[in-house]
Amino acid sequence: MTAQIHTFPRSPVTVAVRPLATRFSLRLRPGHRETGEAALGLPLPHRIGRISVEGGRQALCLGPDEWQLDAPEAEADAIRAALPGSLPHALVEVTDREVTFVLEGPGVLDLLSIGIARDLSRLEIGRGARTVFDGVQAVLVREAGERFTLSVWRSFAPHVEELLHRGARELALGL
């Protein structure tokens, strides 16, 4: 998986691969959210799609009892150790499961629209969503008005990347 940025002359959007940090899938009952927050030192949003950031750590709520935790690699062990055994939960590292693309530029919504059926103009900045890109499950985060990250499972990444490049080329042609 290359990390270099792909651009096409005059393309209103760039496609790049973001190097791996550490990513966990955290599951616990909504009732235990506060305990989890205390242990992780990180708020766990209770609304699906909301993101909280504390220090280098970030939590994206993907389901009523599910959060995607991102952190610098250095903090991985700390996070693993953070949650007490007394707290019913599942914490599974999924760093290697995923490949994350960074899509940026004024044409980013058009580019995503080649594969995503939901209306992304309604996704507020600083929010995320799990959805499906051309049949491939993906987690989107809108980092800025014109910047999204798109995470897919490793073996689907080449397919998604090639489609993104085709879309970027189309947008460059302006047809």
Binding site: I48, G49, L62, G63, P64, E66, A117, R118, A129, R130, T131, V132, G135, Q137
Partner: protein, 100 residues
């Protein structure tokens, strides 16, 4: 491509994010071994398949991952409502009256 309201995400989203999961409110018997073959068949295979109001399950598989229930008219394909798994079967007529 239907638009479906996920009662967990509280958003109305396109069908590709969802997977249909069959008729709703067919609970797995607490003690299957106590059932007659006919009762077990009814649980396994018999479906109401109505022409009209249908209580059915969907999963927001490419979203929050939750299974939930929906009431949909099988002739118009229009959804009357969706609600969370485990909630009792709503009385549609009551809902309609409430709406009016």
């Amino acid at each position: 491509m239907l638009l479906i309201h996920c009662p967990y995400c509280d958003e109305t989203l396109p069908e590709p994010e969802f997977a249909y999961a069959g008729e709703a409110h067919i609970a797995r018997p607490a003690d299957p071994m106590a059932l007659t073959d006919e009762e077990w068949r009814d649980f396994l295979f018999i479906r109401s398949n109505p022409r009209g109001t249908h209580y059915e399950r969907w999963r927001h598989v490419h979203g929050c991952g939750r299974f939930f229930n929906a009431i949909r008219d099988t002739v118009s394909d229009k959804f009357a409502m969706t609600y969370r798994a485990g909630e009792p079967r709503p009385n549609l007529d009551a809902l309609k009256e409430a709406a009016e």
